[in-house]
């Protein structure tokens, strides 16, 4: 029992370190990853200015910072095992004693640390360009940020088990998911609450996505100085969602792995 826990921890740590070293050891990765969210948030900040409310440019900048993580979850978490399958790495994982769940949890931790420079670059450059009014960082902000990332990467683990059974469709599904989830979750504009332009029914559906609750709470903490006293329902919801998505993701992965080992189709790479 103790040795399996130690193995699990070692695998998770090693996988996380691969991500961290790959990012921090190669600045080109940061330059490449920051382009999409940075330029999108700059364009959308100009749109807020054009709409007549320069104070809201911060919504676009904060959205860009979180979009870096959302992109990382989809492309470097959800699709990763599928790519590993196609490149032959999954053969090594399956034939080694390394648990897949440890690999994915390690990948999540590595992804969170590895995406931090891209996310910070968007926030810093965006702030320098548009000078939006940010409130000073608080405990509530730190808690929301961590819980949002936990829930987001939990979603990534759940999606990766689904993508493991897909072929080339995995990339197409990623492409198809990115923008609609960005829209519903209100990465760049409030999609739930009083300021949301969306009907209540759509707000209800959007609230099922952890990113929606996280973005709403982040905006309230960053731009409206709300603290733990006002944000506790969001914090509680995020904690439940984070736990549920991680448990669901790990269970789904275990099921797909077990079934795949029995039927032998886990290693079938469809192109």
């Amino acid at each position: 029992m103790r040795s399996s826990v130690a193995l699990w921890l070692r695998v998770a740590f090693s996988r996380a370190m691969i991500r961290v070293l790959a990012t921090y050891g190669d600045p080109l990765w940061i330059v490449v990853n920051v382009g999409g969210p940075l330029l999108t948030s700059i364009a959308l900040a100009f749109l807020y200015k054009f709409a007549g409310i320069p104070q809201f440019t911060g919504f676009a900048i904060l959205g860009g910072g979180i979009a870096a993580y959302w992109g990382n979850v989809l492309w470097s978490m959800a699709a990763q095992l599928n790519w590993d399958k196609r490149s032959g790495m999954l053969y090594l994982y399956i034939s080694s004693p390394a648990p897949l769940t440890a690999l994915l949890v390690g990948m999540s931790l590595g992804g969170i640390l590895g995406t931090l420079p891209s996310s910070l670059t968007v926030l810093i450059i965006g702030t320098l360009l548009f000078n939006p009014p940010f409130s000073p960082p608080t405990l509530a902000l730190a808690l929301i940020f961590m819980l949002t990332l936990l829930a987001l990467y939990g979603m990534g683990i759940a999606l990766s088990s689904l993508y493991l059974i897909l072929g080339r469709e995995a990339e197409e599904v990623n492409e198809a998911l990115y923008e609609p989830v960005s829209f519903l979750s209100g990465i760049y504009f409030p999609s739930i609450g009083r300021a949301s332009p969306l009907p209540l029914a759509i707000q209800a559906v959007a609230s099922l996505i952890p990113l929606t609750i996280g973005m709403d709470a982040l905006r309230r903490a960053v731009f409206f100085s709300e603290g733990v006293g006002e944000l506790w329902p969001s914090l509680l919801t995020l904690a439940v969602m984070a736990q549920a998505s991680i448990i669901l993701g790990l269970k789904a992965l275990n099921y797909v792995e077990r079934r795949g080992r029995v039927t032998g189709d886990i290693l079938v790479a469809l192109r």
Binding site: G35, L38, V173, E179
Partner: protein, 274 residues
């Protein structure tokens, strides 16, 4: 011409043939529609808070954002034709067959065809969605003439995107890793400078010149003149767009031909993308 048709056919097989083709178009339409809706919602939230909602800008955003998603989705085709081709050893074979320019052009046209369906559907779907969500109907005119003029704008856009795409493909001949990084930047720069989601007047003055030198800015303006009006603006904008697009296309062909020759001499054609 036979080579071009074969390349288009190969490209269509690559774009549409992996599953049920209408499903591919649907998978392209959903994110494009979501992109348009994000932009419209940002305008709506911002202008509502400022107390200055002007529904006429919604049509401006719908047309610009739809065309932007169209361009940004198919400028990837040439770089992916080269880099994927190098990874799968298709590209060296194409190169040996002396038709790599035709091959890349064919792949762009195939991607343009696929993306056109998604862009047009996204234009219609986002119009319907905006009416349902916000109760505002974008004032777009869909007459046979306006649709024909809009389609002409898309064709001129193909020429410009082909020029840009060939330059990106030339770059892909020499790089062996992270080749997708450059199109992400190009796509983001186009979003800021092509008047896709806000007028160039919102940019600081020295940046106007960049916007005016892009064919995509004039193509989007021409498309707006066709679908929103005033129609009198169309001819000047489409003429400027055609001139700039032809220049970009010529530059793309020259850069690609030079890079291909250099790649052959220095042996880059066989370098695999990692």
């Amino acid at each position: 011409m036979k080579k071009l048709i074969a390349s288009i056919s190969l490209g269509l097989e690559r774009e549409l043939g992996w599953t049920f083709p209408p499903l591919v178009v649907l998978l392209g339409t959903i994110p494009a529609t979501a992109s348009v809706l994000i932009v419209v919602m940002i305008y709506w939230v911002g202008s509502s808070a400022a107390g200055a909602v002007d529904p006429s800008w919604i049509a401006f955003l719908v047309v610009g954002a739809s065309l932007y998603t169209h361009f940004s989705s198919y400028i990837w085709a040439p770089i992916s034709a080269v880099s994927e081709g190098k990874a799968s050893y298709t590209y060296p074979l194409v190169f040996i067959a002396h038709s790599s320019l035709t091959y890349v052009t064919g792949r762009v046209i195939a991607s343009f065809i696929e993306s056109s369906f998604s862009a047009i559907l996204a234009l219609g779907l986002s119009t319907v969605a905006i009416k349902a969500l916000l109760g505002v109907e974008p004032t777009l005119s869909f007459t046979p003439l306006s649709i024909a003029l809009f389609a002409l704008g898309m064709l001129v856009g193909l020429l410009a995107a082909l020029g840009l795409g060939l330059m990106l493909a030339a770059y892909a001949i020499f790089v062996t890793r992270l080749e997708w990084g450059l199109p992400v930047y190009i796509s983001g720069i186009l979003m800021i400078f092509s008047e896709a989601i806000f007028p160039t007047s919102a940019l600081p003055p020295p940046l106007h010149a960049i916007a005016e030198s892009l064919p995509f800015t004039h193509i989007i303006r021409a498309a707006r003149a066709a679908l929103i009006g005033p129609p009198a603006l169309y001819s000047a904008e489409i003429a400027t767009a055609s001139l700039l697009s032809a220049t970009w296309f010529l530059a793309g062909v020259l850069v690609y031909a030079y890079s291909e020759g250099l790649g052959r001499r220095r042996g880059y054609i066989d370098l695999r993308v990692t």
